[in-house]
Point group: C2
Chain length 268, copies 2
């Protein structure tokens, strides 16, 4: 079973294309988890327990753990282990390097941590992807068209009448020999998302940028619907509530997000 | 004093444009450091002690530490602290993200670790740089034209007759309000290096890719000489010897590299 098949099976089983971003910010953690010796892990565990039947994928962004220093890495490792095989765990690392360095990053993500998938940045071209692609059963999501305001600065650069991000999408399709390549396209640009879907009909597309960043989940789902996709939401779900019932609030937000995607895909 | 001024002063004081890459690989560490409880730190400490009067800058690439799991992060933290203010410590992280995530990465590198400088990837445009640039006394080296074989795939994409990497160089110059921006250009492409130097006359250029990757230090020094630059060498220096005298061997290699750069710059 390829990574793409595994992802599709899990999405189908849960009736969900929802990816929950586990991006803890210490100041925003609810009081209920602050007392213990690993509040970040306690928070993540509660969120996962409350949402795992709704979310085929969890996506910790490594930045938030690195910012906490060594304790952050411990919390991350415990989180990945805790989720185990109950869901796909995607390390949002956006690593981009070459040669032995890229090999070391791939080893960090897929061995030191046992992520099922990760995100990478291929500004350096194919060399930046190869060491990750070698892990044939792991998912490798290539940054293609990001959700932020200055994304067009390089990504829309005009090359013979086509934007740069389309070149990235085309390359990613070529690299997909093992069914383990995906793309990252922000929810804030549905037209670009549709263009990428047309170029990469079979590739899973990870779509961040809904919620706090202003992307439209329904429009994104419709633009990506010709193939497998994941709508990723972080703060809007994990910080939906900050009281004792924060996990229940996260569940309600996850449920609403899942329904919004399903409704967008339902025949009119 | 801006970062660029601090760097230039240190280069002048040491008569050196040498940056030593601290990229430990467990299997290649000499027997002399393997016995202790933190061989990576013991190795780095010995290399630094043997070379610090020759090297204004040390550049640990985070990948090699991440690949070692939690112990790697501890070794890295100890290494950064050990070097302290004896040299500039540049975290080669190539991070590239946006918004709160990029802010978290900047905080990880400049606060959780106290790096003096770092490398970033700006595929996402200006948004990926801003959170780093806010640390006005820290150096921010933007990936521009990398040393690897597939670098041309995106970086040489033709935009109105100019390659993409020139657009990156031009943007970096615009971002340099605080004298804290640099560029990364691989030693394997001296012509591209000269083009970048022409576009960014005042920016420090970090030049990796000599030694194991085949770049020519002398040709690179000449191409970059119109402004501040650093020639970075990792394996050719730190693994110059593997016996009891590995640190002395590293010193000899560093000395030879410094001399090669100086000779290339000497008037004929």
């Amino acid at each position: 079973m390829t990574f793409a098949e595994r992802l599709s099976a899990l999405c189908q089983e849960r009736g969900s294309q929802l990816c929950v971003g586990l991006d803890p910010i210490l100041d925003r953690l609810p009081g209920a988890v602050r007392g213990g010796d690993d509040p970040v892990f306690a928070f993540n565990r509660a969120i996962v327990d409350a949402t795992v039947d709704l979310a085929p994928v969890y996506k910790p962004n490594l930045a938030f753990y690195e910012a906490l220093g060594l304790s952050g890495w411990t919390s991350l490792k415990r989180t990945v282990e805790y989720i185990g095989d109950r869901a796909i765990v995607l390390g949002d690392a956006k690593r981009g390097d070459i040669g032995s360095t890229a090999t070391a990053y791939a080893s960090a993500l897929f061995e030191a941590f046992d992520f099922d998938a990760c995100t990478i940045n291929v500004y350096q071209g194919h060399d930046a992807a190869v060491p990750f692609l070698r892990y044939r059963d792991k998912g490798v999501f290539v940054l293609c068209r990001t959700s932020n305001k200055s994304a067009p600065e390089l990504q829309d650069a005009d090359i013979d009448g086509r934007p740069l991000y389309e070149r990235v999408a085309t390359r990613a399709v070529e690299w997909n020999e093992a069914g383990n390549v995906g793309l990252v396209v922000g929810a804030t640009y549905p037209a670009e998302l549709a263009a990428v879907r047309a170029l990469a009909p079979g590739l899973p597309i990870l779509i961040p940028g809904v919620g706090a960043q202003g992307g439209d989940a329904a429009a994104s789902a419709r633009a990506a619907a010709g193939g497998p996709f994941l709508i990723s939401s972080s703060r809007a779900i994990i910080f939906a509530g900050d009281g004792e019932d924060f996990a229940a609030a996260a569940r309600r937000a996850a449920l609403a997000q899942r329904e919004e995607i399903a409704a967008a895909l339902a025949p009119a």
